[in-house]
């Protein structure tokens, strides 16, 4: 029996994996990191807000040269999620070539394993595939 852990804590695993942001209770600004206060309005209360699993590619690059240990090439992209929230991740199931990626193209959240540690725990990452 193996256990899984999300690569970052704003990825929620389960039957339908999803991204969950912290939403400022005062102004609605969305964050993914541990917060001390809201960078927009200064508020200190936050609500959990699950985000949509669909969105559009706002920008991308194809990384061909990287630090040792980072596998290239890959497509990095910023995705504007339907209903609010922007997130950065790799595009998957896409050939890493400029003509294969279109600005504005619709994508959907997917998850996949990125490794297993010495205790058998599997790390799960997210990416976006063409919708």
């Amino acid at each position: 029996m193996s256990t899984t852990v999300p690569i970052v804590d704003y990825l929620e695993l389960g039957d339908e994996p999803r991204l969950v942001a912290k939403s400022c209770s005062s102004c609605g600004a969305l964050y993914f990191d541990r917060r001390n206060a809201c960078a927009r309005c200064g508020g200190t209360d936050f609500d959990r807000r699950p985000l949509a699993g669909q969105g559009k590619v706002r920008t991308f690059t194809i990384v061909q040269r990287a630090a040792p240990g980072v596998k290239v090439p890959y497509v990095s992209a910023v995705v504007d999620l339907d209903g609010g929230g922007s997130v950065k991740s790799n595009l998957v199931d896409v050939e890493p070539a400029p003509e294969q990626v279109t600005l504005g193209m619709p994508v959907r959240l997917v998850t996949y394993s990125v490794g297993t540690d010495d205790q058998g725990t599997e790390a799960v990452a997210f990416g976006f595939a063409p919708a």
Binding site: V5, P6, I7, V8, D9, Y10, A29, L30, Y31, F32, D33, R34, A39, R40, R58, T59, F60, T61, I62, V63, Q64, R65, A66, A67, P68, G69, V70, K71, V72, Y74, S76, A77, V78, D80, S86, V87, K88, S89, N90, P98, L103, G104, V114, G115, D117, D118, Q119, T121, A123, A125, F126, G127
Partner: protein, 404 residues
Amino acid sequence: MAKSSDDVWILGASMTKFGRYPGRDVVDLGSEAALAALSDGDVKIHDMQVMAVGNLAEAGGMVGQRIQKQIGQTGIPVYNVANACATGATAVRTVYMAIKSGEADMGLAVGVEVMGKAGLLGSAGRSKEGPNVYEPSGRYGAVMSPEGILGTGVMPGVFAQAGMEYAYENDGVTFEQFAKVAEKNHAHSVLNPLAQYQKAFSLEEIKAAEMVAYPNTLLMCCPTGDGAAAVVLVSGEKLASLSDEQRKRAVKISASVLTSDPWTERGQVQPDVNTLTRNAADAAYEKAGVSPQDLDLVELHDCFATAELLHYDNLRLCEPGGAGDFIDSGAPRRDGRTPVNVSGGLISKGHPLGATGVANLYEVATHLRGEAGDRQVPEAKVGLTHVIGLGSACAVHILEKAAS
């Protein structure tokens, strides 16, 4: 143009040639630039009442005082400052504020960096020591470095994405247009003996070079290198007491602005390099009473070709959304309407991080003094410098030739 006593002026300016200096340390290069700037301004370290030094690699290492110990320990206040790639400009602003506040009438700002062969790719590798056990850590509860898995956060990719975002918002900017920026800057650098590289490349060579992060090829990315630059600043009141020759060569700082990045929707995942640049530029234009059309030359932060293109728009050098047309038109070439990066820019002149924000003041001041030799922009009277460091910090300075 009155020499108001409220203004702050550049009295002396210098930069070392950018390049690789094995065997020379941050103190050697910083001292060389500092001594040259003092000599250029015909003043001595004993005339300085404040000193600020920008260096990133040894930001906590008292670089300012170590330079003092080599060129003159006079007991004056020293500020060691850091602001990513805006570090050098931040040192200049610190001296500027000391003069504006009345605490000093003359001061020295130095920017210096020794990078050796350090790359801009970071060291995000997932090599591990000891047993490998996933433990959430840091502000995102990450169990491993997300670089290359959750996209990229290192510079070539970040600035590539910034360029593609501009393309998305403005109905397409082509790979070729981005490449033209690099072609221009490499061509400019041929005339600059202080540039790290002085080699022209054809548009085809640039496009065919190894891809780093689409659309930036290797020839569209700044190199790493070592170097230093320094300026001596003086109050208008003090300047009035100096020699004719010093006053004639003095360059007025008509605006000095530093900004950070305000909150934006996507800023946490894709650094917004635009808003803080627009804010800095708009404030600088207003303070100087100068419009973008008045600029005779601009040295802006072309860490990557994509970045320069964005900043045409951010600095209001082109029509809104028209940065692609702007490069196509030839306007930013040395013989164009608004010459941009006639020094060769970061892409070819080099980018020793802490030195960059001072070196671009040196470049513009040199043109305003009519001392830029082969690369001189004729009749240059007003120029603008711009640097941006991720994190973020942006500095814009507007310089004007002394009325003679």
